[in-house]
C-alpha cells in the first residue's frame, strides 16, 4: 500500500469519526432524564468517545486491507458451505433434530427454564414456518402476520371461556377464523404491488390491535382475557387436586404430582403442531398450487400470461399462512391462560419476518436455525432486551446487504425429471 493511499484512508477514517460524533454526540452523549419538575441532561461523553473511536478504527481497518472483500468471501463461503452441508445431509439432520426434540424434556440438564425457552422457540418456529408460506414461497411481504396470531388467540380464548369447549375443538375453529380473516384482508389487497402490500398488512395488523384494545364488551380491552382453560390430556386435567369423582393426569397414571407434567405436555403439543406445519408446507410446495406460489414470486406477469389466476393463488397462500398463525395463537392462549393486546404489537410481526428473512426465504431449516439463534440465544441475555432488538434490526440490514437470499437459500426443485442423480 502506498503512502498516498494511507493518507487517503486516514482522512476517510477521520471523516467517519466526524460523522459518528454527529450521530452519537447528542443522542448518546446527552442523556435526558426527568428530575423533579422537567428534564435535565446527564452528559455521557465517555461512551461517545468509545463509540466514535470504534467507528474510526473500524473504518481504518476496513480501508487498510480492503477487508470488506475478504470478509465477504469468507462469509459467503461459510454460508454456502453451511447450505450444502444442510442440503446433503438434509434427511439425517432432520431426523436427528426431531429425535433430539423428542427426548429433550428428559435430558438430565433440562429444567423448567429450558423447557419454557424451548416452548417459546418452537412457537416462533411454527410462526416462522407459517409465514414462510406467505413470504418465502409466495413472495408476499406480510408485516401484519401477528394479526392472525392475535385472531387465533382471541378466538380460542373467547370460544373456550364462553362455551367451555375443549382445546381440540377450539383449536381448529381458531385456525378457521384466522384463515377467514386472511381471506377477508387478502381479497382486496393482494392486487397491490409488493411494497404497498407490506404497508397495508402492517396497517391491518395495527387496526386489529387497536380494536382489541378498545372493544371492551368483547375483548375486555387492555386488561385482556383471563382464565383461559388449560388443555387437558385427552380429558385428564393437569390439576393437583381434581374435582370429586374425576381423575387428573397424575392420579390416572399413578404419578407424583408435578407442574412439569403440564409443561412437558405443552412442549409436545407445540412440537407436533410445528411438525404438522412443516409437513404440510413441504407437501404443498410440490403441488401445483405451491409451484404457482413460487412462480408468482418469480414473475407475476409471466404467470398471468400462462393463465394462472394471481389473486386466487395468493389468497390461498395468505389464508393458509393465516391459519397456521391462528393455530399458534390458540396454543399461545392456552399456554399463557391469559392474553392481552400487548402481546400482539408490530414488533412481534417484525421478529417473525426477521426469522424468515434471516433464515433464507423459503428455507424450512433456515427458520429453525434463525429461531434458535434469535430467540434462544438472545433469551439467555434477557436483561439486554433492547440490545437484542438492535442486533435483530442490524442483522436484517446486514443480511440484505451481503446475502439478500438469506443464510440458507439453496432451493431444490419440487419435481425432478431425471431422478436424484447428484
Amino acid at each position: 500500500m502506498e503512502k498516498k493511499d494511507i493518507i487517503q484512508s486516514v482522512k476517510d477514517s477521520l471523516f467517519t469519526g466526524v460523522i459518528a460524533l454527529a450521530l452519537f454526540g447528542p443522542i448518546v452523549g446527552l442523556r435526558t432524564a426527568s428530575k423533579g419538575e422537567g428534564l435535565f441532561i446527564t452528559p455521557q461523553w465517555g461512551i461517545v468517545f468509545i463509540l466514535v473511536g470504534l467507528c474510526i478504527l473500524g473504518r481504518f481497518l476496513i480501508n487498510l486491507n480492503s477487508a470488506r472483500k475478504t470478509e465477504f468471501t469468507f462469509f459467503s463461503k461459510f454460508t454456502s458451505k453451511l447450505s450444502s452441508v444442510t442440503e446433503e445431509k438434509a434427511k439425517h439432520l432432520a431426523i436427528t433434530a426431531i429425535l433430539f426434540a423428542v427426548v429433550f424434556p428428559f435430558l438430565p440438564f433440562t429444567d423448567r427454564y429450558f423447557m419454557d425457552v424451548a416452548i417459546m422457540i418452537l412457537t416462533y418456529i411454527m410462526l416462522g414456518w407459517g409465514l414462510n408460506i406467505v413470504v418465502g414461497l409466495a413472495g408476499l411481504l406480510d408485516l401484519g402476520y401477528v394479526a392472525f396470531y392475535a385472531v387465533g388467540a382471541y378466538s380460542y380464548a373467547l370460544i373456550a371461556t364462553t362455551f367451555g369447549w375443549s382445546f381440540w375443538i377450539c383449536l381448529p375453529l381458531a385456525g378457521v377464523f384466522a384463515a377467514f380473516f386472511g381471506i377477508l384482508l387478502g381479497f382486496p389487497v393482494l392486487r397491490l404491488r409488493g411494497d404497498y402490500l407490506a404497508i397495508v398488512t402492517l396497517g391491518f395488523g395495527e387496526i386489529i390491535r387497536i380494536v382489541l384494545i378498545n372493544w371492551y364488551e368483547v375483548t375486555n380491552g387492555p386488561d385482556g382475557i383471563t382464565g383461559i382453560p388449560r388443555p387437558s390430556f385427552f380429558g385428564l386435567p393437569f390439576k393437583r387436586s381434581p374435582d370429586e369423582g374425576e381423575a387428573s393426569f397424575h392420579t390416572f397414571f399413578n404419578l407424583e404430582y408435578s407442574t412439569m407434567h403440564r409443561i412437558i405436555f405443552l412442549y409436545y403439543l407445540i412440537l407436533i403442531l410445528a411438525l404438522i406445519t412443516n409437513y404440510f408446507t413441504l407437501k404443498i410446495r410440490k403441488l401445483p398450487v405451491g409451484r404457482a406460489w413460487e412462480a408468482l414470486r418469480e414473475d407475476e406477469i409471466a404467470c398471468k400470461s400462462l393463465g394462472v389466476n394471481p389473486t386466487n393463488t395468493k389468497l390461498t397462500a395468505f389464508a393458509i399462512g393465516a391459519m397456521f398463525g391462528g393455530f399458534a395463537g390458540s396454543f399461545f392462549a392456552t399456554r399463557q391462560a391469559f392474553i392481552s393486546p400487548e402481546s400482539f404489537t408490530f414488533i412481534e410481526s417484525a421478529i417473525i419476518v426477521a426469522i424468515v428473512v434471516l433464515g433464507g426465504m423459503g428455507s424450512q431449516t433456515g427458520v429453525v436455525l434463525a429461531s434458535i439463534f434469535l430467540i434462544g440465544i438472545t433469551e439467555m441475555f434477557r436483561d439486554l432486551e433492547q440490545y437484542r432488538m438492535i442486533a435483530f434490526g442490524g442483522a436484517m440490514v446486514l443480511i440484505m446487504v451481503f446475502k439478500p437470499k438469506g443464510i440458507l437459500a439453496n432451493r431444490k426443485p419440487t419435481i425432478l425429471m431425471h431422478g436424484d442423480k447428484k
Binding site: 460523522i19 447528542p26 432524564a33 411494497d195 397495508v200 395495527e206 387497536i210 417484525a350 439478500p404 437470499k405
Partner: protein, 303 residues
C-alpha cells in the same frame, strides 16, 4: 360551528407536521422507488435532538426567537447526518437487489433506530415545558371560544416558509433539475455526467432535515415525546404521501393537510379511541382504490 373551526385550526397544524414528514417519503420514493420505512424514526430522532437542544438553550436564558432558530438549525444538521448515514449503510449497497430487499433493510434500520434511542435515552416519555404560550381568541361571545395559539401560527408559518424555499430549490436550481432527472432515468442521468450517488444523498439529507423540523414542531406542540413516536407518525405521513400522490411534492403537502384534518375531525366528531384506525383505514382504502393519489402520475404496467 365554533367547534368546527377549532378542529379546522388544529387539523391544519397537525397536517403541517405530517406534510413535512411526507415530503421525505415522497422524495425518496420518487428518486429510488423505495418506501423508506425508517423515515418515521428519523423524524423521531429529529424530535429528540430538538428536545435536547431546547433543554440546553433553556438554561442559557437567550431570547426565545434566537433559541427557536438555533434549535431549528441544530436539529436539521444532526438529523440530516442520520438520514445520510442510513442511506449509505442500508440502502446504497442494495441498488439492483431484489424487489423487497430495500424494504426489509429499511425495516431493520427502523428497528435499530428505535431501540438505539431507547437504550441511549431511556424508554420513559420525555415531557417538556411549553415554550410558546398564549394565543388569539375568537368568538368570545359564543359558548365555545376558538383559540388559535401562537404556537399553531408559528408551525403553519414555518411550514409555509420551508415549503416556499423547498419548492424553489426543486424547480429552479441545478440540484432540483438533477433530482428530477434521476427520477426519470438514473442510468441516463449518470451518463450525462451528473453524480447520481450525490444527488440521492442530498435527497435523503433534505428529507431528513424537513422531518427534523416536523420533530421540533411535534416537541413544541405535544410537549412530550418517546422513542416510539416515529412509528405512528411515520405511517400517517406515508399515508399522506400516498394520498397526495407518491412522488409529487405538492401532493405530499396536500396529503399531509388532509390526513391532519381527517384525524382531528375523526377524533372530534366520531371517536377519540379509534383516531389511529382512521389513519390506517384511509391508508388501506387509498392504496386499494386510489393508488395514484390526487396529484400522482398513473403507473402503467410495463410488459
Amino acid at each position: 360551528m365554533e367547534y368546527f373551526i377549532q378542529q379546522l385550526v388544529n387539523g391544519i397544524t397537525l397536517g403541517s407536521i405530517y406534510g413535512l414528514i411526507a415530503i421525505g417519503y415522497t422524495m425518496v420514493y420518487g428518486i429510488i422507488g423505495m418506501i423508506n420505512f425508517a423515515h418515521g424514526d428519523i423524524f423521531m430522532i429529529g424530535a429528540f435532538v430538538a428536545l435536547i437542544s431546547f433543554i440546553i438553550f433553556g438554561l442559557t436564558g437567550v431570547a426565545l426567537p434566537v433559541i427557536l432558530l438555533l434549535v431549528l438549525l441544530i436539529a436539521m444538521l444532526f438529523t440530516a447526518c442520520y438520514g445520510w448515514t442510513v442511506e449509505k449503510l442500508a440502502y446504497k449497497p442494495l441498488r439492483g437487489s431484489f424487489r423487497l430487499a430495500p424494504l426489509i433493510s429499511a425495516l431493520g434500520m427502523s428497528i435499530v433506530l428505535q431501540n438505539y434511542v431507547q437504550v441511549a435515552q431511556g424508554a420513559r416519555v420525555k415531557p417538556m415545558q411549553p415554550l410558546i404560550s398564549g394565543g388569539l381568541e375568537f368568538f368570545k361571545n359564543s359558548e365555545f371560544v376558538v383559540t388559535v395559539s401562537y404556537l399553531q401560527i408559528f408551525i403553519v408559518v414555518l411550514t409555509v416558509i420551508l415549503m416556499g424555499i423547498f419548492t424553489y430549490l426543486i424547480t429552479k436550481t441545478d440540484l432540483g433539475r438533477a433530482q428530477r432527472a434521476c427520477e426519470q432515468d438514473r442510468t441516463m442521468t449518470a451518463l450525462l455526467g451528473i453524480n447520481v450517488d450525490r444527488t440521492i444523498s442530498i435527497t435523503f439529507i433534505i428529507g431528513s432535515s424537513l422531518a427534523s423540523v416536523a420533530g421540533m414542531m411535534f416537541v413544541l406542540y405535544y410537549g412530550v415525546i418517546d422513542f416510539y413516536i416515529g412509528f405512528l407518525a411515520g405511517i400517517k405521513a406515508f399515508t399522506a404521501a400516498v394520498l397526495g400522490g407518491i412522488g409529487s411534492l405538492p401532493g405530499a403537502m396536500l396529503g399531509g393537510l388532509l390526513i391532519g384534518l381527517i384525524e382531528t375531525f375523526w377524533a372530534g366528531y366520531v371517536s377519540l379511541e379509534y383516531k389511529d384506525v382512521a389513519a390506517f383505514s384511509v391508508l388501506i382504502v387509498v392504496l386499494i382504490f386510489f393508488p395514484t393519489g390526487f396529484l400522482g402520475k398513473p403507473d402503467i404496467e410495463k410488459v
